[in-house]
Symmetry: D2
Subunit: 409 residues, 4 copies
């Protein structure tokens, strides 16, 4: 792709120094028009400065959108129906935001007649993959520009020099190197790089931006209830809320109670291990609550099938395959399972702990009558257990008779 090839490019623009440099670099390198797209996904930054900076850079088509409800309703909640955890622990806060940004970039490209898109993700990370797989899946002929992979601004010094040369204002605190890199949205904040690169060293308290520490959290628990309908949370303490409002409220509850910190070494799709420090206060509560309501409303084999497929589903989202046939197929299976996942979970939040203390549902499959240690009036015939065991054991017995004792092969 030579400079001439690009007519108009839609840039995922935060308004920060890096994407401001990218904006200028795109204009100067490709001589093309740049459309900026800035989304509010709950990252907690004001968006108007981005508009002003884009205007100053001569951008004529500026898109600034509040996507928080879309983000939570169409991306976060479907993912939580799967109880998705990457590598057993990570709630995928960054991964799940990328497809939405990419989708809007492509929609804006279609609207504005742009032939290219650009993002500010680096060449070593997962985000470049997530952005670009989504771009290509949604608009297969789109031209993709990933400045960090191609330009020669390969050091902080060069970047700052470029900024100065092009009158891009540099905030005071951006002069020096940030001690680590941050990504944030309504679901989580992640911190990684630089001072966090040694996995043998505990992250400093200053790394955490979104939760107080368990030690600092109140000495008394907070008890809440969450209502679910068909797998999605709809109310806290009986008050119905929109998806983004609900997650925002959970975030506040999590923050106060020191909930949702994770210090993890994970495996990137591009092949290396990296260390991330995550804060997902509301999501951590939500996962526990969702598992809680599923525990009484979901059939055993439905739950086990979900559990077996979850790692694959989480891997797909982590790797950037949200807009793929296989993710859609798994989503169909997961959504099918959630029809009766309705009811209420009560939870105790206390210094980093999320403890389920009660679950109720009009669709509960839990039968006290059957399970009871007391007389059950014939709901369950204990004699059946013998036949059940005998036939489950038959192949093992035949194996043992053939000399393969204890299930040896």
């Amino acid at each position: 792709m030579t400079a001439r090839d690009v007519k108009k490019v839609v840039l995922a623009y935060s308004g920060g120094l890096d994407t401001s440099v990218i904006l200028k670099w795109l204009q100067t390198t490709y001589g093309c028009e740049v459309v900026t797209f800035t989304a509010d996904l709950g990252q907690g930054e004001e968006l108007e400065p981005a508009r002003r900076k884009a205007e100053q850079a001569g951008v004529r088509e500026i898109f600034i959108e509040d996507l928080r409800e879309t983000f939570v309703r169409d991306f976060v909640f479907p993912m939580f129906r799967a109880n998705a955890l990457y590598e057993g622990q990570y709630l995928l806060g960054t991964s799940i935001a990328r497809p939405l940004i990419a989708q809007r970039q492509i929609e804006i490209a279609e609207m504005t007649g742009a032939d290219a898109v650009a993002h500010g993700a680096t060449g070593k990370g997962n985000d470049q993959v997530r952005f670009e797989l989504a771009y290509y899946a949604l608009k297969p002929d789109v031209k993709v520009i990933a400045p960090w992979r191609v330009w020669d601004l390969t050091s902080r010094t060069k970047l700052l020099a470029f900024a100065e040369a092009h009158q891009i204002p540099i905030a005071k605190d951006k002069r020096g190197e940030a001690p680590f890199s941050v990504d944030a949205n309504l679901l989580h904040s992640s911190s990684e790089g630089k001072i966090l690169e040694d996995p043998a060293v505990e992250p400093d308290e200053s790394v955490f931006q979104r939760t107080i520490s368990p030690e600092q959290a109140p000495d008394r628990p907070t008890v809440i209830s969450i209502d679910f309908e068909r797998g999605d949370p709809v109310a806290i303490d009986g008050t119905r809320m929109s998806p983004a409002t609900l997650l925002t409220r959970l975030n506040a509850l999590g923050r106060e109670n020191g909930i949702g910190r994770l210090d993890l070494v994970e495996n990137r799709f591009v092949g290396m291990k990296s260390r991330g420090v995550y804060e997902t206060p509301g999501g951590t509560i939500l996962l526990a609550a969702h598992r809680g309501i599923e525990s009484i409303t979901l059939d055993r084999e439905a739950a086990h099938l979900k559990d077996q497929l979850m790692p694959r589903y989480a891997e797909l989202i982590y790797n950037g395959f949200w807009f793929s046939p296989e993710r859609r197929m798994l989503q169909a299976l997961i959504d099918e399972s959630q029809q009766s996942v309705t009811g209420q979970v009560r939870l105790k939040l206390y210094k980093g702990n999320v403890i389920v203390i009660g679950r109720e549902s009009p669709h509960s499959l839990y039968s006290m009558k059957v399970v009871t240690f007391e007389e059950d009036e014939g709901a369950y015939d204990q004699v059946d257990a013998q036949g059940f065991i005998k036939l489950n054991a038959l192949r093992l017995r035949l194996g043992a008779m053939a000399g393969r004792r204890g299930g040896t092969l």
Copy 2:
């Protein structure tokens, strides 16, 4: 199986009221000799009373064994190599003990020439299945007696009447009904039944026997290190310990810090949901530590393959298929993966939280040189990412060109 058929039976005997009644009932019902087997799996009860009671009941062959090291080394640790969690949460403390008890019963049956075995598990639970599948897999022609499924002592009143009629001493606190049922071993304690049967009601603090509550735990964190070799923990804070000693130490650490409580509605193999309250203090720490050391020593695809198979492996153990070809096959796969899972993890224990704060290993696959945000001296070529993404996207692009935008089908 008629009464005549049984010559000699090996009973899993705790010395408590229930198995004492079973002992007598076996003697009177089958007119057969009973061999008792009492194992120390770390349940925290003295075993000598069991010997005395068995002698009083006229038992001539009494086996009392300390199996704690065997239990932890050959059952608990292999299971933890898999990071096994049943239904995403349960550490399988009861499930993993049953195969060992069953195995010893069968070995004792072979030694003593017994043709039958008996256990005290009820007809509604999983334990009957776990015991009996193991019996049959190890000795396919064994006769199995499950008194709770066949006798007519179907109420507490009848049971006590039988005990009195046969001069079985009844401890004062056994006169009344226990408010819930308990199982314990070195890995965990479980409580279930009766006052715990309503999953909407929080368990009373009195249910917990093995951990103090997070609220009562110290206000300052405890920091420890655990060393691993080939997937198994071998030392705490630099001190090498035998498996059972190590787990005992972790239990103490967990207890003091309010770690390892779980209130769960789970799905039994026999088909109903049940509610269990579990305390697994040491195991909870161990799982976090094992995941921690794996995070820097295990290859990504090795880790993901393990994660994908873990739910099945956990299900097998929960359902009682420890002695089965499929468990052995999965174990071979898991053990193959652990060869370099060696190194040290540091953890902070604080009021219910287990927080990994550092990992180091001579076999680490984590490369600061590759992952760094700084210059990496060519360890990783960012240009490669473009080809990587382009080819990963190719099928999605071809799909979109064929009208299937966004990975639709």
Copy 3:
């Protein structure tokens, strides 16, 4: 369940000797009314004799139904969307028919106010499980009578004696023992038992009822085309047909060309191995054709996901879990995948062989432009392959650098 408990029972009634004996035995044992249900699933027997015999036995509610279209459309075709093969080979011809029969029995029970259902499957086979799991899933309080498991007519002699004692006509050829047992429907015929019980001995040609042998098949191939729409076949050689008509036609084509025989030792759900001889002429053609059309219309990862889940799906159907949450979830995933599985496959049928010789589709994902050995005008950039390989190799390289050469662990 005592005799008194049953008021009215719906019997799956073929009109043959065995179910005629069952009919009478139900009447005499339970003193209850019997409703007969006889279905045409394409087994190739006349149904009117069943009506006459039922009338003679005093049955007042007789249901005789042609379910062939329902069978193929709602059971066979959904299953073939999954390319389901049990144990890599068996097309599940018997398994897939049972849920439909059971479903109709339950519907008839609801209509006629019956409280019980009965079937003629033996106590060693899979069919009893398939019938009864479906009964219970559809009507959880239904009473199930499985005469073969409970009566004392445990030998052929006793059965014939009972028949004679009750004036049940015995066809001449039923006097002696059948040399093997047969099940048939529009999808397949199975033969098993008795002379087929030794898996070391080849089945005699006389066993096969539905296909000529490859040796006897014509010396010249038959070429056909099958059109698919959204995963289901809709036309043969351009002629649209209803599901049952289409499968009937494929059966004729298969029969003539010696297609679809299978001699298999399989593993039953009840725990033992058994040997079955199957003939699935049309189904064998259909599987090849479906795989053929999928090969050009299905995305790679969609196809691989299906392949990975297929064994589990097939196992569910074999084991009798058609009416289960987990089968429905998998079906949702499979059906989601079939939206563009539309097009035409051409096949050569020749002496047992089904050879795909051409596939075409308006939704084809096969791109000659991309795949060509010739110049592709930039459709694919070979340089991308280097980055793709380098990043796929990165973790292996890092592993090798850490001393784990060749992917060792």
Copy 4:
């Protein structure tokens, strides 16, 4: 990588025109020494011409090796233990040969002090990936040269011009374009490209090189027996043979009987679909035989676990991850399963059909006593089936009672 960087390169050299051009191109482009490695994997070509040509090109270190036994014993047989089929059909004949060639190249590089390796695979195919992943996994710092991705000999004309300019002899039949491309080894031949690129068109009979057509095969079946030991074939018709000898013999038997042809559209790892025509005569027989012996010697759940993991295992081999942790882990699981897969299978080969007609084993798990339709003397208690079914149905009944009839969710 600039030309200067390469000191000595080991080339996978067939002696044909293409790799002869590559040999010269490497010498002229990199000014480096080239070591040639030519392996006999059973492709059916003489190797001595390769030596002569290499000598003529001035190569001083020439390695020519007969690797047939290694290939079959250490690569083909382990893979067949898994019943590996890619996309349900392809026996992976090309895929499985690449890791061995790559492994020897790296070993030769170590021996000769070479710092680079080169192969003749194109930039669109899977083979480049398979070669290079193996290279990197075995020698992470190796330099890899893939001429087809980097040179400018991008057309046949240019290639021939280069050959002429460098006095590389061009066989007469290489002047024109080959009508398709061929790969061959002891396991299979593949043909693809050019005249085979349209998947709607049947391949011409002339494409097939290794099998006669079913139509031309003898009118009478050939019956053979194959003996297995621990999962691997060891004898045909009672005659023990080395691995390569045995596969050679099976190839001859397959060839004569028109066995092992496959016309397939498959999904490449690099992202596009391609059409291949494969001939795997011996392998096709072997797969059927191995499934046959497993059917009586393998436990049900062991077999099902293998079936569930097989697609992933096959995918790994297809994608080039033979030398990876995850392949080794799966191999450990598979090998664990094969300990008793010992015995004899008899097969009928007839015009493209491979029909198992008998299986016998000293470790058979098939019990005629248990399975029989006749009296079984108590080997199986039919009454057990009721309890087995009742408890398997329990969750479905509880679901139906909660309003979820028929396993709805």
